[in-house]
């Protein structure tokens, strides 16, 4: 119970700090400390009041998702520290609280609330960091499409609740078409949050329009939350009533990969490339779900979280407010920003699945999970993986291109938390014990 109370208290404390106009460092410190404490508290076995017990999913793996969401938020706090002020800290914490609630709950309404709280936080952050009209436009697009799917969620929950007579999330087996429609709507809404095909359209524009810090949050937190929920709902049989679930997941996973990688290829701007690349990455989370393989999907989700924080953190530090082209990245390794550049290289290699990165292990997990399925599926998935090399390496190359030395770069020298994540990507790619422990004990 303590954990939940603290989870509720931290945003309130941050809001109070905002009112009192405490130093920025204090609110940032509180956010980080709060998240760290929450991570410890949620990892301990804890009981809640009996009246709330039916709201929580009786699932052992929940703790992994809670930790994942909190960890992502902590990572974001670290990476975005230079950009964060009191308001941003509050919004981030609110979104995190919503996310933790969404992944832990056993109730459709709670799920809705959690996801929408995440959204509220995100809209706030995107607006807060928006300094241009393009940023506002991106926010509007995000908001409009987000609202569309919020509506879908409401409709879906209504239909499900109407048939089941309860809002408790549980396995479904009957094939009533209204139930199917409701479940499909919920399913689609979650896919939308993850930025998966065919609901990926918002992602590139939103990424490109928003400022780097907001992009970093949008690329990680909602996808982690939605991904966790989708994994845990799909594997616990909630969507079993859908007649084409397996087929649908397979199609969507492969479609997501294909669309994402096709879009990412030959993009001129880094952010748009990353947006499509992130879409392609989501495909690997969905792929193992088609054979209900929770472990593989979760490992990929974890890998995605770590890698995208590193990618966006480093890219954000490298490019400031700009959206660099490949030409802008030439020669960065020779400037003060070399550590960000190195981080970006490692993280992109991790996205690509280069050996000795976490991405490689995660891709192996993901594809091994579907190896018993039809060869068309895994062969397509593998070939798309091969195709992804084209754009990742295309963007890695400029760092090594020959260039006249220019020292007028705007990159601030130094390091931030993204380097830590790069180390984690390599470290977890080589030291297999943590992931093995995780998959054996929880997933």
């Amino acid at each position: 119970m303590t954990a939940w109370i603290v989870l509720g208290m931290v945003p309130i404390v941050l809001m109070v700090f905002e009112l009192l106009e405490v130093p920025k460092a204090l609110s940032l410190g509180t956010l980080a400390a709060g998240l760290a404490i929450l991570m410890v508290l949620f990892s301990q076995p804890h009981a809640v009041l009996p009246m709330y017990e039916h709201l929580l999913a009786p699932h052992q793996a929940i703790v992994i998702y809670q930790e994942l969401v909190l960890g992502t938020a902590l990572g974001l706090t670290g990476v975005l520290a230079p950009h964060q002020d009191r308001l941003a800290s509050t919004l981030l914490m609110m979104a995190t609280a919503g996310g933790v609630a969404a992944v832990s709950t056993n109730n459709w309404l709670m799920l809705f609330l959690g996801i929408e709280t995440v959204n509220v936080g995100l809209y706030g952050l995107a607006g807060h960091w928006s300094w241009t009209r393009i940023g506002d436009e991106a926010l509007i697009k995000y908001f409009i499409l987000g609202s569309l799917f919020t509506a879908a969620e409401v409709a879906g929950i209504g239909l499900i609740g109407g048939i089941h007579g309860t809002l408790t999330i549980g396995p479904s087996t009957t094939g009533h078409s209204v139930l199917i429609a409701g479940l499909t709507l919920m399913f689609s809404a979650l896919l939308f949050k993850m930025g998966s095909f065919p609901f990926h359209l918002w992602a590139p524009d939103t990424y490109e329009g928003t400022a780097w810090p907001a992009t970093t949050v949008i690329a990680t937190l909602p996808k982690i939350v939605a991904g966790s929920v989708l994994i845990h709902l799909t594997t616990s049989g909630v969507f079993n009533a859908l007649p084409h679930l397996t087929q649908g997941l397979e199609t969507i996973a492969v479609g997501t990969m294909i669309v994402g990688s096709l879009g990412a290829w030959r993009q001129r701007r880094l952010k748009r490339m990353l947006a499509y690349a992130a879409i392609a990455q989501v495909g690997y989370i969905l792929l193992p779900l088609s054979s209900r393989h929770m472990g593989a999907a979760s490992v990929y989700l974890l890998s995605y979280a770590l890698t995208s924080i590193a990618v966006f953190g480093a890219a954000s530090a490298l490019s400031g407010s700009a959206n660099p082209t490949r030409l802008d990245l030439v020669g960065v390794l020779d400037t003060g920003g070399r550590w960000f550049a190195a981080t970006l290289i490692v993280a992109l290699a991790g996205f690509a699945g280069f050996p000795f990165t976490l991405g490689m292990a995660a891709k192996l997990y993901s594809i091994e999970a579907v190896m018993h399925d039809s060869p068309v599926l895994w062969l397509t998935a593998l070939l798309v993986t091969g195709f992804t090399f084209l754009y990742y390496f295309r963007w890695i190359y400029p760092f090594f291109a020959q260039s006249p030395k220019t020292d007028d770069s705007t990159v601030s020298p130094g390091i931030n938390t993204s380097q830590l994540f790069a180390l984690l990507i390599v470290g977890l790619g080589i030291w297999s014990y943590p992931l093995a422990w995780l998959t054996q004990n929880f997933l």
């Binding site: 569309l148 429609a181 399913f187 689609s188 359209l201 918002w202 590139p204 649908g248 294909i258 879009g263």
Partner: protein, 551 residues
């Protein structure tokens, strides 16, 4: 010991090709002399020597270099090393002012080593190695005059044409290895017909028989001492030698001997006619070599390897002599054309050197050539067709010899250029050997020849000489039209392949285009219009719902 005999010239020669050093000539002379001395000693005091060296064991099949001294090999080696020694001395005179003499002599020495490898080789693999190395050596020798286009053409052609035979040989070797036929005896006893045919193919290319004849004629672009060595006792002579060693195999190959007869006979006739029609001294000699090699193969085809051997030995002596002399003559005349040669020899040189060779070439006494030709005549007289063929060959041989003699007849004015002793001494020595060969024959004993039975061939030689002395019309035979055509065809083929490659690249580009279109489609989705996003997402949502409801 045998191993050293073969490896020393090979190693020293190869080193000399790579690292030019000053005293090279001296070293090579002494090694050549030592080689000859050694071979002579092993001929006079025959002792069985055996030298084996594992080259490789592949998948359990042993592949070894194996040399063995048998009488015929000893004699052949003796011949080779002798001609080599003389050619080395001759080249000291021929190249007295050439800075690359050391290089030339090194190649010559290595070439001899390769020949020895084939001569002593006791399995096909060993002989093949020598055979291949001779090919390389001939490439370097023929291409010695690097500035000249003809040398480039001739060297490349020699290498490429003989490679056709080499590939046949390679397959024969591989077949022998996988059948565990690892000695000449084993192959002779139970080698397959395929090996025999492959060997015939290999010999035809290397010894310039049939369609391959023209490379040897073009090879005249090389220096004279090299020609002497190639023609007399190595490379081309290795072909008949090889067939002599594998006579038994050929005997139990159906059709093998007949093929050899047809191949050798027709080549001999055609090449001889080519010789009659040639205008250059070296070309004439080259044609005559092809013709004589054809006779050797004809003799083998008629089932008489001993006759072939006699022809080989006699030919080695007189052809080396003729090359040496023609080198002197063209050096003095500053031309290789027959019409400009008149008077380039002193009377004594003409009678003691040149006429000895000419007599040998046409098959007149007192030379070894006479006996060998008579032996061939006797062998051929078993059938009317072969008899007629032999008489025709004698006729043509007489004709081209007469043509040569006529061109070189001394005139009153003595030659102006002086010739170094380096070129003259080997000529005198070998002239003596041509004479000695009349009385003495290595390895085989010649059947007695009754002088009264020799008249038909002598008559035809005489008739031929009469005709040849006045013949001036060239025969466009064996001019090597096939090779440029083949070369063009090969290049055409290569051009086609490259074209197919370009087409494949275009095909790949088509795939890229398809991916590009898909790429554009995806970008069209991300057009930046929120209305379109909402519409497309809504349609997709609806589609999924409908798809799921309608089972």
């Amino acid at each position: 010991m045998l191993g050293f005999l073969i490896l020393t010239p090979l190693i020293v020669g190869t080193l000399g090709i790579w690292v030019p050093f000053k005293k090279m000539s001296g070293v090579i002379f002494s090694i050549s002399a030592a080689l000859f001395a050694f071979c002579l000693q092993s001929v006079i005091y025959p002792s069985h020597q055996d030298s084996r060296w594992n080259f490789l064991t592949l998948g359990g099949y042993p592949i070894s270099l194996h040399w063995q001294s048998v009488p015929i090999a000893n004699w052949m080696a003796c011949l080779t090393t002798l001609i080599n020694l003389l050619a080395q001395v001759y080249s000291a005179g021929y190249f007295s002012h050439d800075a690359r003499r050391g290089y030339f002599q090194s190649v010559l020495l290595a070439f001899t080593g390769a020949m020895l490898c084939t001569v002593f080789g006791d399995n096909l693999f060993t002989q093949f190695v020598g055979w291949e190395l001779m090919g390389v050596g001939s490439y370097l020798l023929i291409g010695y005059f690097r500035g000249e286009t003809s040398a480039r053409y001739a060297a490349s052609k020699a290498m490429l044409v003989t490679r056709i035979g080499d590939v046949c040989f390679l397959i024969a070797v591989a077949l022998a290895v996988i059948h565990h036929d690892n000695t000449i005896t084993a192959i002779n006893l139970h080698g397959t017909a395929f090996i025999a045919w492959a060997l015939i193919g290999a010999v035809a290319a290397k010894s310039a028989q049939g369609p391959y004849a023209s490379w040897l004629v073009d090879a005249m672009a090389g220096p004279t001492p090299a020609s002497a060595l190639i023609h007399a006792a190595t490379m081309v002579a290795a072909g008949p030698y090889l067939l002599i060693r594998y006579t038994l195999l050929l005997h139990h190959t159906p059709g093998g001997l007949v093929t050899l007869m047809i191949l050798g006979g027709s080549t001999a006739v055609l090449a001889a006619m080519g010789a009659v029609g040639s205008q250059e001294i070296k070309k004439l000699l080259a044609f005559s070599t092809v013709s004589q090699l054809g006779m050797m193969i004809l003799a083998i085809g008629m089932g008489s390897p001993r006759t072939a051997w006699n022809l080989l030995v006699a030919h080695a002596f007189y052809k080396a002599l003729l090359f040496f002399v023609s080198g002197i003559a063209s050096y003095r005349a500053q031309s290789g054309l027959l019409s400009r040669m008149a008077g380039s020899l002193h009377r004594f040189e003409f009678s003691a050197l040149f006429m000895m060779g000419a007599l040998g070439m046409s098959g007149l006494p007192p030379t070894g050539g006479f006996l060998a030709k008579e032996a061939l005549y006797q062998t051929a007289s078993h059938g009317l067709d072969t008899l007629m063929l032999d008489l025709l060959l004698s006729f043509l041989g007489g004709a081209y010899t007469a043509k040569l003699v006529k061109a070189l007849i001394p005139v009153k004015a003595p030659p102006v250029h002086r010739t170094s002793y380096g070129m003259l001494i080997p000529s005198y020595i070998i002239s003596g050997l041509v004479l000695i060969n009349f009385f003495w024959h290595p390895w085989v004993s010649v059947r007695p020849i009754f002088i009264e039975q020799t008249w038909p061939s002598l008559l035809s030689i005489g008739l031929g000489a009469t005709v040849g002395a006045f013949w001036t019309i060239p025969f466009p035979l064996l001019t090597g039209v096939l090779y440029p055509a083949l070369w063009r065809r090969i290049n055409q083929l290569a051009g086609w392949t490259v074209w197919v490659d370009h087409t494949l690249v275009q095909g790949t580009l088509t795939i890229v285009t398809v991916i590009l279109w898909a790429n554009r489609l995806v970008r069209w989705g991300g057009s930046g219009r929120a209305q379109r996003y909402a519409l497309l997402s809504g349609i997709a949502l609806l589609a999924i719902v409908i798809w799921n409801i309608h089972v």
